[in-house]
Amino acid sequence: MALLEIRSVTRRFRDFVAVDGVSLSIQAGEFFTLLGPSGCGKTTLLRMIAGFDQPDGGQIVIDGKDMAGVPPEERNVHTVFQSYALFPHMTVEQNIAFPLKMSRCPAGEIGARVREALDDVSLLGMEKRFPNELSGGQRQRVAVARALVNRPKLLLLDEPLAALDAKLKEKMQLELIALQKEVGITFIYVTHDQEEALALSHRIAVMNKGRVEQLDEPAVLYSAPKNRFVADFIGECNLLDCTVALQDGGTLDLDVAQLGRVRAAGVEGSAGATQGTLALRPEKVSIARALADETCVNRFRGKVHDYLYTGDVTLYIVEVEGGRRIEVMLPNNAVGRSSKFFEPGDAVEIGWREDAGHFLRD
């Protein structure tokens, strides 16, 4: 049985539907992520799981118990708030001891359990500090330690790393993965950062306008997005409107305006479609002055319109002869060249394999 069952949960604010019939089933021990753009209802859903907000429709079941009418303090669910919400008048130690005191943990045990929690997040020695004497990363760790110290069934994290700089964020991501593995508690993680979601999660639910667009493992989400929204939201993607010219089992011949005829793989359910989108990841497109790779069945000539250098890769925008612009990504470590390969205006050939592009029906 799943640890958390969310059954067609809906939440309306006046006539605005913030969460729209969401159903999810989360297993014990899972690192589950709610991913979506700002305002898609992630926090609203999380607040309903924590008990701060009530669904207008549907059901939230934790460990087989319907949570309707159960206040937050009586749910075995803890939250790491985006602002951390550490108590400013309490030391690190007192902050972490707070949930233990609330659950009437014997006084003799508290010290040892606080120390254990501090050890989990490598903060031993900081017991007597106040929150305003800690760095952002340390505060974040105190918030996690406080939420985990009395071993809740479920830990909710609402964009806990959003306030940290990129380097620290990466470090904390690794720590969170390790910590989750170690304590074995189910994490529900909210973020609008797709890279973070891909790096951390066992499974991801991509949300948009209050609905779940796709729920899958990170690798599946990335390589086989089910619709245009998911393809666009996760990673870089060329999204080309197209019509189906010919359908032959799993592969399709597509007509793309200003580009031409393209062969692509169809995702399930594309049989019989006439209109749709071709989703093509820039890193799956090859680029050369003259392409040698024979496996690229889709080939187009064009010239470099512009490029974006980002250190490890360069993103080229290539304008093909028909006038369509395609994004192409090339790693900068390829064949001993340290800087970029092409300049704007250079004549190039681009191409991709038959299974590189995905057809998404409308």
């Binding site: 669910v77 919400a85 108590f87 707070f98 009395n150």
Partner: protein, 299 residues
Amino acid sequence: MFGGLAMSPRAARLWISSPPLVYLLVFFAIPALIMVLASFRYAGELGGLAPLVGSGDPDELAGLTLENYQRFFGDSIYLELFLKSFLYASTTTVLCLVLAYPLALTIARSHAKWRDLLVLLVILPFWSNFLIRVYAWMIILGPQSAFTRVFNGALGLAGIEPVALLFSPVAVVIGLVYVHLPFMVLPLYANLEKHDPSLLDAAQDLGAGAWQRFWRVTFPLSLPGVYAGAALVFIPALGIFAIPDILGGTDGLLVGNVIKQQFLDARDWPFGSVLSIVLTVLAVLFAGMAAWVARGQRL
């Protein structure tokens, strides 16, 4: 802006803080000094102060003396007077706190669009004269008032003899609490209104019920407001004379009344000064203590 004048940071700080410093000097330090000097002199025959340099007449009182302090410390009646005033001021402070806290909390937690209106209602009494408001209590607490009759009626039902409310310690405390309540509500509200609501969410999330949330989060965080309000109520209540004058009985005199008597009726300025100095020292000690306790809380 000050760069062009090549002013050092220290000089700039002095420049910025000089108006309040001048204010303090003129309206606090100099009068206090005059009072301290007066407390070491003799009273003039018709009030005021006796001359510092005598005319040579051996019976004439002139120059400096410790007599006034000897009188203060030589008679326990003055110590008792201060204790009584201290008791009234403390009672007033505690009652104000108990009454003001729920009110301030209600205002701070009410919808933003009502808050300003509610704060306005709290300070509304300031728009009419202080004495008129205290005289109004004289009527409310008077033997013929509806309030007194209902009150005594209720006592009668409980089998208790009717009491006279007016000119009693109860009337003085009611007046003191009534007049000082806004000075407790405002600092409390200013503090409570700034509290981060996510702290209460966090406390609830971690298992704290409503009572625990109040005592472990809201109240400790509001202590600076409590100290500020306590100082704003306690210090003026300690020296007040108008309310005991109007609402108190003959034995209801507090330090403020006696100081007023010394200056206006007994025409003993030096002894009035001694009482004032002791009162000021106590008030400063109390304010210092409140500041020190508040600092110790690291808030």
